[in-house]
């Protein structure tokens, strides 16, 4: 699949944003984070900013963005519609939660309830995003039991790493928070490795034989219906060389997981302000790494239409 930047950024940014929102909603509402104005402004601003930027980016991917409102109508069948509904619905508790925290300086009572609801909304939205991909049968790498948990785990992981950096930045961090984000990063790393391992060993029953209905033997593409690339090939015929893919996987591992792990371990061990600097660096590295991971998520996904083209 073509790794369009708009979609790569959208899923990465909203994943991180919803992860952060969910953690803030739960933790702040339950009193684990103090209702500090600046902390609230920055962290909720960042969460909602990531979410909004991501959603805007995805709207930029649309052919007719002015009709985007129509996407809320088909929630009964469409995960994309559900995502639209969930994402917009989540803005309501998230907004109340942010207002309560930032303007009323409280994270208890109705604000806590709003926080919890925002967290639920965030998780639900990430689930719908994951399900958009997980439900697509033509793409075996996505249509897998790894996809939905992956989205949730990566969302939680990047959210927690950002939250940790924010708390550290405001000097209200804790070893627990560092450890928590460290743990989630380890978990994410493991999940990604397991996903890759699974995808590399995929035995896909769909092949050129079933695609053409020609049973037995081999089916080799002789000539395409067109000699230049068309929409199908541009959108779904993306190919990535094995060597290139291996290199990007290594980069993903370093940036999204290994480096953040090292930095977070160091942050765990070192006092403030070193821990804050290291936590911030971990966030930046991981976000960059997750962009690469998401790019690969698309690039390594093989759509069945490519079978018709011998790709």
């Amino acid at each position: 699949m073509h790794p369009a930047f708009s979609v790569v950024f959208f899923t990465t940014a909203t994943g991180a944003g919803y992860g952060l929102l969910a953690l803030l909603g739960v933790l702040a509402g339950q009193g684990f984070v103090s209702p500090d104005f600046w902390l609230g402004l920055v962290s909720m601003g960042l969460a909602l900013g990531l979410i909004s930027a991501g959603l805007l980016s995805s709207a930029g991917h649309l052919g007719r963005p002015e009709r985007a409102w129509r996407a809320f109508s088909q929630w009964r069948s469409s995960w994309l519609s559900r995502e639209g509904v969930a994402s917009v619905a989540t803005f309501v508790p998230a907004g109340l939660f942010a207002v309560g925290w930032v303007f009323f300086g409280r994270t208890t009572g109705w604000v806590a309830v709003a926080g919890l609801l925002a967290a639920v909304g965030a998780v639900a939205t990430v689930c719908t995003t994951g399900m958009i991909y997980a439900s697509l049968k033509p793409i075996a790498q996505w249509h897998s039991r790894f996809t939905l948990p992956g989205y949730l785990i990566f969302s939680a992981m990047s959210g927690s790493v950002i939250l940790n950096a924010l708390l550290q930045g405001f000097a209200v961090g804790s070893k627990t928070m560092v450890a928590f984000s460290l743990l989630l990063t380890f978990f994410g790393w493991g999940w990604k490795l397991a996903t890759w391992r699974h995808n590399d060993r995929l035995e896909i029953p769909t092949n050129a034989n079933t695609a053409t209905g020609l049973a037995g033997g081999t089916v080799r593409s002789l000539e395409w219906p067109h000699t230049e690339e068309n929409y199908l090939l541009k959108e779904m015929g993306f190919r990535i060389a094995r060597k290139h893919s291996a290199k990007l996987r290594r980069i993903t591992q370093v940036l999204a997981f290994a480096l953040p792990v090292l930095l977070l371990i160091a942050a765990f061990a070192l006092p403030w302000p070193y821990a804050a600097v290291l936590s911030a660096l971990a966030t930046i590295a991981q976000f960059a790494g997750m962009l690469v991971e998401r790019w690969l998520f698309f690039a390594e996904a093989k759509h069945t239409v490519t079978l018709y083209y011998g790709r």
């Binding site: 053409t212 080799r220 593409s221 069945t304």
Partner: protein
Amino acid sequence: MTCLPAHTDKKLGLVIDLDTCVGCQACVTACKEWNTGGYMAPLTDIDPYGGDADGVWFNRVHSYEHMTEMGGRTVNFPRSCLHCETPACVTVCPTGASYKRASDGIVLVDEDKCIGCKLCSWACPYGAREFDTDVGVMKKCTLCVDRIYNDNLAEEDRVPACVAACPTSARHFGDLGDPASAISQLVAERSGVDLMPELGYHPTNKYLPPRAHTPRAASVPAPRLEPVQAEGGFLGWVDRMLSH
């Protein structure tokens, strides 16, 4: 509404005979010329005279080499929307632009509702949908919905443009939901197949497999030729044949 109808009155679709298709592209351009002025008009062509020519087409013909122990065959393979019974391209649509008609089973796009998210094209395993970057909406085969019921066309012309044009008669049209229809009987007789049945889309369109290298192949039960057993060899034989 992108929820699928529980039942369609008819299952209109195409049957494509891979044993007969010579890959002439007649159906391809016939489709293009009808539809570029039809329900989904236009089928925009970007850079039509340049190096990156890329147009919207509803029907494309591939060619393959199919090698089995029985031998090789070149197979020309037309590919278009299969008007599936359970088309995920419809259910993934967030706006209701994609839908399956309850009356005849045709899968259509209502352009006015399409936001151009392209998800339907991702959900189609067959590559049946093509995005019109100029108009910003998804387009696809309509099974010539604006021909098959068109009062302004002679009754005999109310068939999809690709079927009307096909010079080798490799394309067939009808109600695949009616087991008594001519097209259903053709499928039964020739053991028509679904494409990618394992994905569970239940395509309405069927493909008739090539007969060469199968027990259905045309064959001539000819005994080996033996030299004429006659004095004087062949010329002697000719002589005797004429004297009879």
